[in-house]
Subunit: 607 residues, 2 copies
């Protein structure tokens, strides 16, 4: 009762099924809703590139420019490729569904496993980066970053359990504010650069990384792999086509193109200016924060940038709270995840998926000390694997269907699949020992779990199926009433048992012959004609003699059901219950899964 | 299954009731069995006196001699008094029973509460002192004293759960070894003193206590109160009279007299020599260890003294493991403690009492850092309270019965009661703020708990009693089968329900009208003629519509029972169970304590 009230306070009253509604988004609203995940990654992608490069000394930092351009090119390829997917899947082309459709179940499950892992990481990485934006501006909070991060995750989880709507308005303000502020930052930075207003760039260098070391091809590739985090979330538009106003596919393609252009501009701009100002990563301040301080100084504009960065990162985490439960639902609907993921809760949301996502992400934050950088090696493997599978699916689809104009679309997807496939290889190879191995191991384990679950459901369905079923064999029935004494509660149970069957027996386990004699006397007067079976117990066990007797009854035949009626009294207060022998509880526990045995408590209520 | 195997390994196989046996003890064996608690306290009593006196500086230490003689006199008084109790209670005169017999229930319960607390403290104090004997000899173990103490408690608990016999042989070796070694120590010490072999006594002084301060009467009384710990366990002989060989009472009285003489000799001897050598307490070495090193040097005799001290202290702790469960049994038998304390376990011991005692004592050791000295202020309050009540009971008994020669026995008990009553007042007053308040508070709380438990049992017995019972009113019965679908498992449950009652109804909660239509089609073919009730659920809750329907049925009358049959399938492995909806579990939880409702799972076993 109290738990219900608490639940109501936290997540609100139940909503009726009929209250489910679907909002259609304009292009500007859709850009806000679907871009936060992708755009927010510019807040940390440049920094992750630099963090690898500085391992070879500050001189290696100029490699950030070519790496930045390579990633920009990659964004262009992936965006072009996904624009073809939108055309083929106007009903929404999530990677799991597209891959399962075109390549088969196993690749579909691999894609699903990769995505589930990455949704968890999206939450952890985005929240960690959002907290970093906050603690860069307010250094006093740095020591509390894990607590703050877990608090953010808890708040987002709760909001989603309430059934937060992905309303355009909610998303529009922080997203467009972030785009505008970063655009101003880059624009003003470029103006300062063009006019040479910062002739002697102030070099902020962490002394521990100042030494010049050898830069290997491997390290450059690893820096590139880390920067690929910038692409996470690009697929969101193609997953959400049905939410667009008609013509859905056309509008979605336009929005995806916008997203590509904005993402490339912001990412390249930040990377370029970071290089120009010779910024290097500091453990307690993000690169974006350093850049904003450098260009805007420590005023209102700086704090506005930090605030909007934090907000868009939290929104990015929030998108995973729509994606993860939806993918779990698809997987559960196909029998690959427990059925509990396929039912909507009181507030019409997939509560189980939301809770699993929130708790796993919070655990990751604690485990990795709330550090974006520590989580990055695990990230992106899954994203790029699902990119590759999704685009490979499209390649096969064009080839099979050969719809008009399929050839150049086939080419675009083939280039996309090949490129992202190469990126998967690079990420896995360069980040394997730094944590990517966890994901590489986890994906096949999850796939095996999915298949085991599906096998189980199929097996159960087969065993329960009525196809060709000839009906049940006839059933015999014995009812036993366990009596430790004879009082009103036992009489109540005897009376109940007699309504169940004419063949009721009382069963008593004898510990003390004197007590048996007294019970038998009472039984003659009050036993309602029910015969009493007395079992002796040389070892004072109440259970064993009864179990032996039960075995004897069950041996009478495979269709012989035994119902064990246990008189139990229900005390007024729960603690009073502790004052009574827990025999009933013990018997239930022992017989819970016994074949052909039904255990029935008959409660007698005490005042 | 595995848990059972582990239990068998730890505590052994069950014993049959007929295997219970009673050993009769010779006087020498009885002295060993019943004296360990009392004698072992000489290992720490002198030290506790000194620990208080040194608060007034080293010069105050010579007060230990008069205090020692006062305590010796007290022992003589208490022993004389208890010798009268033995005469009156040859069947064993525990304080709870004697007090309840003669003064009434409330004083009996006070005595019982005081004793329960003191048994716990006996274990904690004895084990702490035993560990101190060990760490005095092996200082390297000092840092592990809490762990070692808890280990001792665990070992004693386990031995008692196995059903350790209080055999004379087991107790005789360490007890007589301890008596002999301490007697040699004192004898040889007195010889050295008489011949003046230690002219310049080496004074070992803890520098922190060297300052001379004012000695108040209060402090002398507090030192006396601490020394009273020497008397704990003196009552054991009178509790155990039936274990003696006949003539029981006479033999017990002789053994108690021996005990008194030995106890006084050892205690006074140790106290005198401690004074002679100017020993003062050290935190890492006991007084007895200092004394033994002083007289014997650091050789084999010294280590023998330490080992036998440790052993007799562990034995002392062990005696509480017989006393506490036995007293719990008496209290439970009279309805003042939960019934679970009155049943013997597989090994014929009162397992619940043993487990409670072991865990409470271990918790105290951890809480008080394994320090004897920290525990002492809590100790002895309860012992002397029960002494006083027990002897006051005897005073009343002689007065009421006026058996032959009652007058001087009356006098002995009256002096005993008055003296121990005075000691209770001294202990409470001087140690109240140092911890005795805990016990002073706990005793009435326990008494209130005893009475609340007894009231509850009496109330339940009254409600269940058949005295003047007119028999149960007629009972009506409806059986509902909850069906989420129709498959072999549900058919099995329907068939079972039909054996219970001709009036069975299937109940289905509708979430999706399309599924209802399909279910109804199947039901026509396979529903075995059982009518199906379809409940609509606008909020997708499976539970609420059903609860509303149930309320409607229950409103039909107070004698209307509703049995809810829930088809449940039992999977082969427990984890597979997680893959199925937990609706059955939820419904059971919700309806567990509902009046006139019986919930019955009908398991369907999957391969």
């Amino acid at each position: 009762m109290n738990l219900n009230a608490l639940k109501k306070l936290l997540v609100g009253s139940p909503l009726a099924t009929a209250q489910a509604r679907h909002e259609r988004l304009s292009k500007t609203a859709a850009l806000a809703v679907f871009s936060s995940d992708a755009l927010s990654s510019v807040a940390y992608a440049t920094e992750e590139i630099l963090l690898i490069l500085v391992l070879a000394g500050t001189a290696a930092i100029h490699y950030s420019i070519p790496i930045g351009f390579a990633i920009a090119g990659l964004i262009a390829v992936v965006v072009s490729s996904y624009r073809q997917t939108i055309l083929a899947y106007p009903q929404g082309g999530g990677s799991y569904i597209v891959t399962k459709d075109n390549l088969g179940t196993l690749p579909g499950l691999i894609s699903g496993a990769a995505l589930l892992i990455d949704y968890v990481l999206t939450v952890a990485v985005s929240v960690a980066a959002g907290v970093a934006a906050l603690t860069s501006a307010v250094p006093g909070l740095f020591d509390y970053r894990v607590t703050i991060g877990v608090g953010f995750v808890a708040a987002i989880t709760l909001a989603n359990l309430r059934g937060l709507r992905e309303s355009g308005q909610l998303f529009a303000v922080p997203t467009y504010l972030f785009i505008a502020l970063v655009a101003v930052l880059i624009g003003y930075g470029l103006v300062r650069w063009a006019f040479g207003w910062d002739p002697a760039a102030r070099v902020v260098v962490d002394p521990s990384v100042a030494a010049v070391k050898d830069l290997s091809v491997f390290l450059v590739l690893r820096a590139f792999a880390s920067g690929c985090a910038a692409l996470t979330g690009v697929e969101a538009v193609s997953d959400g086509v049905p939410a667009f106003k008609p013509p859905e596919a056309r509008n979605a393609r336009i929005v995806l193109a916008w997203l590509g252009v904005i993402l490339i501009s912001l990412f390249v701009g930040i990377t370029f200016l970071t290089r120009h100002y010779h910024l290097t990563p500091l453990s307690e301040q993000t690169i974006l924060s350093q850049l904003a301080r450098q260009i805007f100084g420590d005023g209102a504009l700086y704090y506005a940038i930090q605030a909007s960065t934090m907000l868009i990162l939290v929104l990015a985490a929030n998108t995973a709270f729509a994606d993860f439960p939806r993918l779990s639902y698809f997987l559960a609907r196909d029998g690959f995840l427990p059925r509990q993921f396929s039912t909507r809760g009181d507030r019409l949301v997939f509560s189980n998926g939301i809770l699993i996502l929130g708790s796993t992400a919070a655990a990751l934050l604690v485990l990795f000390g709330g550090s974006t950088h520590a989580l990055i090696p695990l990230y992106a493997v899954g994203v790029f694997l699902s990119f590759t599978l999704s685009q490979a699916s499209m390649v096969r689809r064009w080839l099979v269907r050969r719809e008009s104009g399929w050839k150049w679309r086939w080419w675009l997807n083939a280039v996309g699949a090949a490129t992202t496939g190469l990126v998967v290889a690079i990420i896995t190879a360069t980040k394997f020992t730094h944590g990517a191995w966890v994901v590489v191991l986890l994906i096949p384990l999850l796939v095996m779990l999915f298949m085991a679950i599906q096998r189980h459901y199929a097996d159960v369905a087969g065993q329960l199926s009525l196809d060709g079923y000839g009906g049940p064999p006839p059933m015999q029935h014995t009812v036993l009433v366990l009596a430790g004494d004879l009082h009103k509660g036992v009489i109540h149970a005897l009376q109940y048992a007699q309504t169940l069957s004419p063949a009721v027996k009382g069963v008593y386990v004898e510990l003390d012959p004197e007590k048996t004699r007294r019970l038998e006397e009472k039984w003659i007067k009050w036993g309602m004609g029910v015969p009493l079976v007395v079992l002796s117990s040389p070892y004072r066990s109440l259970l064993q003699p009864f179990l032996d007797y039960l075995d004897h009854l069950l041996a009478l035949g495979d269709n012989h059901m035994v119902t064990i009626v246990i008189p139990e009294f229900v005390t007024k207060h729960w603690w009073q219950h502790l004052l009574h022998n827990q025999t009933a509880f013990l018997i239930k526990g022992t017989l819970l899964f016994r074949k052909n045995v039904v255990v029935t408590d008959v409660p007698y209520h005490l005042r």
